[in-house]
Symmetry: C2
Subunit: 164 residues, 2 copies
DNA sequence: ATAGATGCAAATATTTTGCCGCCAG
DNA sequence: CTGGCGGCAAAATATTTGCATCTAT
């Protein structure tokens, strides 16, 4: 019951333990948070991921590097990263069950656009989105710290297959 | 472990069984879907709700009208309504656990804006949001059918309490 | 040395399913 | 009448927690 979370072309992951000091690892170190063997591996997976992963996918990839990583530890590490505001949590409109997906969040928010027909997920960035968040901040006098936008519909291909 | 899903000022619900033929009930009838006693009650609750409700809240309100409503039936009816595209499902950024919230969706999409400090949830509509969705549809050549935006941050009050 | 992390198992929480009797149309 | 629906219990899924042990700093 695993979900393919997207079909973006992968440029290949870097599963190179030593060379790559990803952004997450660096951030955790900077904040003086203990870096255990397991955390290093999980952060590496997240850093190298070309797209959002679910918990099982994280575990699977982590175990390829170091078999001694436990599901519980993945959950706990995700919690840590969420609390540190270093990753985003998605559920892709519950497209396939209630699984959650995680991704290290870059400097700019992006929108996830999912095709309800084929399950393909693409990402979208827009100045309009930044404006929208600013408008909310202004109107509600809020400090906006997180945002999530997920859009569903039917992609060109699927529209052709099932002409509505 | 119940969550207060928002603090919007309620204008009071209408729990009047006969008089009000809400939009959901009407839509279900129009589509020739069987209207059982339980469904009628659940739809009435959803129609009268002033805001998003979680499954337990729906059950609780339904039982005040008719004690013979089961949790399973609430789940099954929600499934039905989701498949019919008559309600939206939210999770409010997992603000408090992984509970899901449901609301009958009006003609216009709105954004849910949650304060991470006090849990207050407000709604926001914007022409900008409509433009954003149009932009996505155009750029990706997609037919957009659902969208969900949830924004989190700190409201004015909470910013004062905890000056950053 | 020691606070904090992990592993393991068991507990929770939430949602889904199988089966059978019942009711709306 | 009859096929879909609801009730009940049990299963499936997903996530969290208690506790003893281990380890990064």
């Amino acid at each position: 019951m695993s979900v393919s979370p997207g079909h973006r072309v992968s440029t290949g992951e870097r599963l190179n333990t030593s060379e790559t000091t990803g952004k997450l690892q660096q951030a955790i170190r900077e904040r003086g948070i203990r870096l255990t063997r397991q955390r290093r591996v999980i952060l590496e997976v997240m850093d190298a991921a070309e797209q959002h992963l679910d918990v099982d996918q994280i575990l699977e990839r982590a175990r390829k590097i170091d078999a001694g990583v436990h599901l519980v530890t993945v959950y706990r590490t995700i919690d840590l990263l969420k609390k540190q505001g270093l990753i985003d949590e998605l559920d892709l409109l519950h497209l396939r069950g209630d699984r959650h997906y995680y991704e290290s969040h870059g400097p700019r928010d992006h929108i996830h656009v999912a095709c309800l027909g084929c399950g393909k997920v693409r990402e979208f960035e827009s100045r309009l989105y930044e404006q929208l968040k600013q408008q909310i901040a202004r109107d509600f006098k809020m400090k906006v710290t997180v945002s999530r936008t997920e859009v569903g519909g039917y992609c060109e291909e699927c529209l052709v297959k099932t002409p509505s």
